[in-house]
Amino acid sequence: MQNHILSIILFTPLVGAILLLFVPKENKEAIRWIANIFALGGFLISLPLVPAFWVVRAEPGFKFVEGVANNWIPSIGAGYVLGIDGISFLLIMLTTLLGWISILSSWTAIENRVKEYYVWFLVLQTGMLGVFMALDFFLFFVFWEAMLVPMYLLIGIWGGPRKLYAAIKFFLYTLAGSVLMLLGILFLYFHHHSLTGVYTFGLQALYETAPKIYSDPAYGPTIATLLFLSFFFAFAIKVPMFPFHTWLPDAHVEAPTAGSVILAGVLLKMGTYGFIRFSLPFFPDVLHHGSTRFWIMVLSVIAIIYGALVSLMQKDMKKLVAYSSVSHLGFCTLGIFALSPLGLSGSVLQQINHGISTGALFLIVGILYERRHTREISEYGGISNVMPVYATITMIMFLSSMGLPLLNGFVGEFTILGGTFLQKDIAGHPGWVWTAWAVPGVVLAAAYLLWLYQRVFFGTVTNPKNEKLHDLTPREVATFVPLLIMAFWIGLYPKPFFQILDQPTRDLAAVVNRETPKSESTAEAATEMPAAPAAMTAVPSAGVSSKNLPAATRPSAHTPAASTAPAKGKN
C-alpha cells in the first residue's frame, strides 16, 4: 500500500496558496486567517509523521517512499518519488514548524499587498518541503530552483531600502551554483546509462553508480573531483560557506522578518542537506583522496572564526545575526566533513538548533524593528526595563544560540566537536587539531551575543523614544513558545533526536568510509558495487522494493543517439 502522507504534507501549503487566490485582496483579515490556518494546518498535518516515523526509525533506507521511478516524465527517466529518512524527517518538521511561526509573526508586520505575500510564502513552503522529500534528482532540482522565485519576490517586494539589489543578488548567486549542479546531475545521468543502459534520475539508482566514477579509468579522479565541485558550489553557496557567503548579509538585512526566519531557518539547511544527501554518498573517494576535504575543513573553520569576528563588530542587529549564521553553519559543515556518525548526527542536530535559535533571533530583532523601525544597536539600551518578558525570552534564545549547557545549542556543538575530535585522521591531520581551531568560535559567539545583549537590554533607557515601547502581545509570545519548548527539549533530553538520527548517519558514514581498493578493474567494480551501498539503497517494505525493481530494469523510452543506433530511433 502506498502511503501518501508526504504528498499531503507537501501540498497542503500550495492548496492554501491556490485558495487564497480566490479571496478578494481587500479582505485582509480573511487572507490572514486563511494563511494562518493553512500554515498551522501544514504543521499539524506533519505531526502524525512523528509517531509513524518513530516506529520505523531503526529500519535502514528511506521510509514512506511513494511514487515509482520514472513515472513523471518517462521519456527522460524522471520520477515523482518522495521518501524520507531520519535526517530529512527532522528537517521537514523544522520546516513546517518555522513556516507556521513565520506566517504567524507576519500578522502585523505586513500591511501592503497582503494577499500576494501569503501566496508566495505558502508556495515557498511547498518548495522547501519538496527539496527535503525528493528522492529523484530531477524532482529535487525542480524544487530547488522553483523555490528561489518566491523567496526572490519576498525579499524584493517586502524588503528594506536596498531590496532590489539584495533580491537579485540572492537569485543570481544561488542560480549560478545550481546550474553547475545541473551539469553535474546530467553527467551522473549519462554515467548511469553507460553502466546500466537505463536512463534515470532516481536517487537510489544513482547512489550505486556515481561512486564508481572515481575508479573508472575512462573518467578518473580529476573528473570525479570536478563533479564533486559542481555540486559543492551549489551547496556551498546555499549554506553559505566562506567565501561564498556575501549574498547572505544583504538578503537577511533586506528581507522582511519572516523571510529572514525562513531564510536562516530552512533555506540555508538545504545546502548542508545537499552535502549529506548527495555529495557524501556520491563521491566518497574524492573526500578520502586528494586535498578537497582538507580545503573544505579549512573553509569551515574560517567560516566559524570569520563569521564570529565579523558579528562582533556589527552595528546593525540583523546583520549581526546574519553573520552569526555563517559561523554556526561553519560548525555544521565541519561536522559533516568529519565523516563520522557522531559528527553527522551533531551536524544535523545543530542545523535544527540553528533553525530554532536563529529563527528566534530574527523574530526578536523583527519585534524591535516593528516598534521602532530601526535596527541600529546604538539606538537602544535598557530595553529590559520596558519590555521584561521580551528581555527574558531574548536571554534564553541568546544563551541557546551561544551553546550554553541545558539548552539546545550546546548539545549540537558539543556533538560536532566531539565527533570531529574523535576522528583520528581528517585530511591528514588528527581530529583534535580541527576541533582546536573551531573552539574559539564558541567563545566568540558568547562574546558577540552577550555584548549585544548588554548594549540593548541592560542599563537605563537612554533613548527617550524607547520609553513607551509595549511588551510582547499574546500573538508574539505564541510565536516563541514552540521555539522555547524545542530549545529546552533538545537541551535537556536530546536522546530521541539522536535515536532518530542514529540509523541514517551510521549508514551514511558506512557508505562514505567504505574502503575501496584503488586498483580494481571496472568489471569487478560492476559486480561488487551494488552490494556495498545497500544500506543507502535498500527500501524498507517489500511492497515498495518490488515496485521499484521493474522500473530499474525497464528499458528506457529515451531515444538513442543517432550515432549509435540510427535504425532504432525511427518509428
Binding site: 518517462p74 525542480v142 537579485i168 542560480l175 553547475l180 546530467l186
Partner: protein, 502 residues
C-alpha cells in the same frame, strides 16, 4: 503534377487563397468592421492546420516522408512539426493584433494577408528539399515581413526599421543565393539529397575544396543572418524595436523558426558531409552570440530591444545543440533540444510580446522598461503571466523554457563538450539578470501614471491564456511534447529521407 502534389501543397494553397480573399474582402468592409479581416485570417490558419492534419492522417505511421512536386518538397514529420509551429505562432499573433491595429489606426487587410503569405513562404522553407524552393520560400517570407515591419506608416521608427531590415535582408539574401549557386556548380543539382551525395566526394577533393568552403561560408552567412546570430544580428534589435509589437512577436517566433527549419535542413542534409568544417565555425558564432547578446541586453531600456537581444542569446544556446555530436554525426538530443526550444519559445516569447502589446494604448507606447513599472497593481494577471514568461525564458524549472535548455545541455554533456556546457549555463544565469529587471519593474516599482486598470481586449486575453497555459503545461508535463519531438525527428535519420526521394 499528381494527386499527392496537390495534397502536400494543400496547407500552402489554403493560406494563399485566404490571403487573396482577405485582400478582396477588405475593399468591401466598412471602417468599423475591419476586425472581420482578423477573423478571416484566423479561420484561414485553422483551415491550413486542418490541411496539415489531413496530410498527417494520410501519411499514417508507416511512411515517415513523402516527396512531392518533382521532389522539390518533402513532407515528413519534421515539416509537419514546423507547419503546426508556424500556424500556432501566427494564430496567437493574429489574436494579439486585433486591438493593437485599432489603437495604431492602421487597421488594413494587407496586414493579415501579408502574414498568411509569409507563413506560406515559411512552409516552403520547412518542407523544401530543393534549394530553389527553399530560396523562393525564404524570399516570400522575407518580403512579406519587410512590409509588415514598416506597417506603421506614420511612425518614423517603423519606417527606419523596415528600411534597415530590407537593405540588410536583401544583402544577406544575395550572399545566400551566391552560396547556393556555388553549391549547384559543385554538385550539379539543387536537390539536397543529391547535393549530400556529391558533397561527400567533392568537399574533400583538393581540387574542389576551396570552392566548397567558400560555398559553405556564404551559405552559412545567409542562414545565420536569418536566425540573427552574432555577427549577423545587427538588423534584429532595430527591426524588433521599430516593428509593430505584434509583428515583433511574430518575427521572433515564426520567422525565426522558419529560419531554423531551413538551417537544419541545409546543414543536416545537404551540407552534412562538411560537418567537420561548419562545426568550428558554429562554435565561434555560438560563443560570440551568447557573449555579445547577453552583454548587450544588460543595458537596454526598451523592452522590445531587450527581448530582441534575449532572442539573439537564445539562438546562441540553440546553436550549441547543433554543435553537440561527433565530427561526422550530430547528436539526436541536441537537435531534439532545438526543436523543443523552438516550440517552447513560440509560446513564452509570444506571451511576453502579448503583454507588451497590451500595454500600448492611447498615448503610451508601452515598450519602454519604465512602462512596466507597477504593472502588478494595474493588471495583476498580466504581470504574473509576464513573470512566468520571463522566468521561463531564463530557464527556471518547472517552466517550459527549462526544457529547451535542458536538452541542449544534455546533448553537450553526453558528447563531452563540458566547457561549452559550463559556458552556456553560466550565460543563462547572466540572462536571468535582465529578465529580472523586467520582473523588478512590474512587481517592485510603483506605477508612475497612477493606478488605472489596464484595458485588455478579449482576443488578447485568449492569446495570453493560451501562451501562459502552454508555458506552464509544457513545463510541468513535458512528456507528451518530448514524444512529439521524437516523432518529428525524422530528420535525424537522413538516410530514410534520402531514400524516399529516389
Amino acid at each position: 503534377m499528381v494527386w499527392t502534389d496537390y495534397l502536400l501543397a494543400l496547407p500552402i494553397t489554403l493560406l494563399v487563397l485566404f490571403a487573396l480573399g482577405i485582400l478582396l474582402i477588405d475593399f468591401m468592409l466598412p471602417r468599423d468592421m475591419k476586425w472581420a479581416n482578423a477573423v478571416t485570417a484566423f479561420i484561414g490558419v485553422c483551415f491550413s492546420a486542418a490541411g496539415v492534419y489531413k496530410i498527417q492522417a494520410w501519411m499514417g505511421k508507416d511512411s515517415p516522408a513523402v516527396g512531392g512536386m518533382l521532389n522539390t518538397m518533402v513532407v515528413d514529420p519534421f515539416s509537419i512539426y514546423f507547419f503546426y509551429l508556424f500556424l500556432a505562432g501566427t494564430a496567437i499573433a493574429i489574436l494579439m493584433s486585433v486591438r493593437y491595429l485599432e489603437t495604431e489606426n492602421e487597421n488594413h487587410g494587407e496586414y493579415y494577408a501579408l502574414m498568411l503569405l509569409s507563413v506560406a513562404g515559411m512552409m516552403c522553407m520547412a518542407s523544401g528539399f530543393d534549394i530553389v524552393l527553399i530560396f523562393i520560400g525564404l524570399e516570400l517570407m522575407a518580403i512579406s515581413t519587410y512590409v509588415l515591419v514598416g506597417f506603421l506608416r506614420r511612425d518614423k521608427r517603423s519606417n527606419e526599421a523596415a528600411l534597415k531590415y530590407l537593405l540588410l535582408g536583401a544583402f544577406s539574401s544575395g550572399i545566400f543565393a551566391y552560396g547556393l549557386s556555388l553549391i549547384y556548380g559543385l554538385t550539379g543539382s539543387t536537390n539536397l539529397a543529391v547535393i549530400r551525395q556529391q558533397m561527400m566526394h567533392r568537399a574533400f577533393d583538393p581540387q574542389y575544396r576551396p570552392v566548397a568552403i567558400i560555398a559553405l561560408a556564404t551559405t552559412l552567412t545567409g542562414l545565420l543572418f536569418k536566425v540573427a546570430a552574432i555577427p549577423f544580428h545587427q538588423w534584429a534589435p532595430d527591426a524588433y524595436e521599430g516593428a509593430p509589437t505584434s509583428i515583433t512577436g511574430f518575427m521572433s517566433v515564426a520567422v525565426k523558426a522558419a529560419g531554423w527549419a531551413m538551417l537544419l535542413r541545409i546543414l543536416l542534409i545537404g551540407l552534412a558531409p562538411m560537418r567537420s568544417v561548419w562545426v568550428p565555425m558554429l562554435v565561434f558564432v555560438s560563443i560570440a552570440t551568447m557573449t555579445g547578446a547577453n552583454f548587450a541586453a544588460l543595458t537596454q531600456t526598451n523592452t522590445k530591444r531587450l527581448l530582441a537581444y534575449s532572442s539573439i542569446a537564445h539562438v546562441g544556446y540553440m546553436l550549441l545543440g547543433l554543435i553537440a555530436g561527433t565530427v561526422t554525426e550530430p547528436n539526436a538530443d541536441g537537435i531534439k533540444g532545438i526543436l523543443i526550444y523552438l516550440l517552447v519559445y513560440t509560446f513564452m516569447n509570444l506571451g511576453a510580446f502579448a503583454v507588451i502589446t497590451s500595454l500600448r494604448h492611447r498615448n503610451v507606447a508601452g515598450d519602454d522598461l519604465d512602462d512596466l513599472n507597477g504593472l502588478y497593481s494595474r493588471a495583476p494577471v498580466e504581470a504574473v503571466l509576464m513573470l512566468v514568461f520571463m522566468l521561463s525564458l531564463a530557464g527556471i524549472p518547472p517552466l517550459a523554457g527549462f526544457w529547451g535548455k535542458y536538452f541542449i545541455f544534455l546533448s553537450l554533456i553526453s558528447t563531452g563538450h563540458y566547457v561549452l556546457a559550463a559556458l552556456g549555463v553560466l550565460y543563462s544565469v547572466f540572462g536571468l539578470y535582465y529578465y529580472l529587471k523586467i520582473a523588478n519593474a512590474m512587481f517592485m516599482r510603483e506605477a508612475e501614471k497612477g493606478e488605472e486598470k489596464l484595458p485588455v481586449s478579449l482576443a488578447m486575453r485568449a492569446a495570453l491564456a493560451l501562451t501562459g497555459l502552454a508555458t506552464l503545461y509544457i513545463g510541468i508535463l513535458p512528456n507528451r511534447f518530448i514524444e512529439i519531438v521524437n516523432w518529428a525527428l525524422g530528420i535525424a535519420q537522413q538516410a530514410s529521407v534520402a531514400k524516399v526521394i529516389h
